[in-house]
Symmetry: C2
Subunit: 196 residues, 2 copies
Amino acid sequence: MNYPTGIKKKPTQIINYSNRGMTLEDDINQTNSYYRDNDIAYIYKKPTPIKVTKVSFNNRNATIKEAFYEKPSTTDYNGIYKSYYIDFEAKETKNKTSFPLANIHKHQLTHLKNIIRHGGIGFIIVRFTLLNETYLLRTEDLFSFTEKNKRKSIPLTFFKEKGYQIKENYRPRLNYLKIIDIFLEVDKNVKKEKNK
Amino acid sequence: MNYPTGIKKKPTQIINYSNRGMTLEDDINQTNSYYRDNDIAYIYKKPTPIKVTKVSFNNRNATIKEAFYEKPSTTDYNGIYKSYYIDFEAKETKNKTSFPLANIHKHQLTHLKNIIRHGGIGFIIVRFTLLNETYLLRTEDLFSFTEKNKRKSIPLTFFKEKGYQIKENYRPRLNYLKIIDIFLEVDKNVKKEKNK
């Protein structure tokens, strides 16, 4: 499994416009802070699940002496935007031509599918780090790929065709909710068509 | 701060109808599993936030050697039900006549307020363990109390008047979504009245 990025490097507090050294997680966390500070959306990264096996108590202060990383049972990010339930997973890949699906656990995919069946908005954000390109792919399109293809990775061309590139900015770093606004508009028009 | 209940005792896997030894957290987790297994709602407990300070690697396996509990910045539970964003905090108290508000962090209260302003459904579930009574109180009613009263605890009588008691059952243990259905019905009627 992948260890959370926070362990090996300290989260940088310095604003680095050039994105050098900023991970996708840093960018999303900064973006979510911006959304919260401006009362736009309340979306948080869930804490990494850790199984604690030994704790020592010293004057009522607990120190964890042994613990292990667990596989997350859901996606990393969720929250609320315009009264919609938002749920997504974010991943980086060093691959230049495709995103290996092994990066996302099977139960995370099932989770994303459950969310959209119940009326939430689900997606993945994938950064091709060596190309410095970041894409948002809606759960619906992700599954339209996995159901038709037996390939174990999604080609970059599929992201270019069905996904939306998120360009980096100053503030917020990755304005992914702009793309959610497009989805909401599309969904509204689909509903209108159905009611005709 | 309160340590997560899981540390001192192992989560019981034995179904105990009498509720002896079942914490509120156990009951809610079991209820949420039931909701998921029956495709009713997807509501999860967020992992406890832990700050990892020392990790040792042994053949690519990571063991956490030192870590500390952190204060949660949001509530413990969130998810989706009938396309609504659901967000709540659950607390037990040994007090027999009132629920001390110190049990909920200030930023958790702010979080619950943000959620309802953005169209989500927020509430707290409080169990008076010595009375074996569990109540659900909507964020709106929680704030109608805290804004009018300078008291540092909510009396049980307020829960009885404005809250909803959740009776324990076999499966699910605590069917709190039944109360959410009442809220949705009330909100629909309020909207209808407004549009008249």
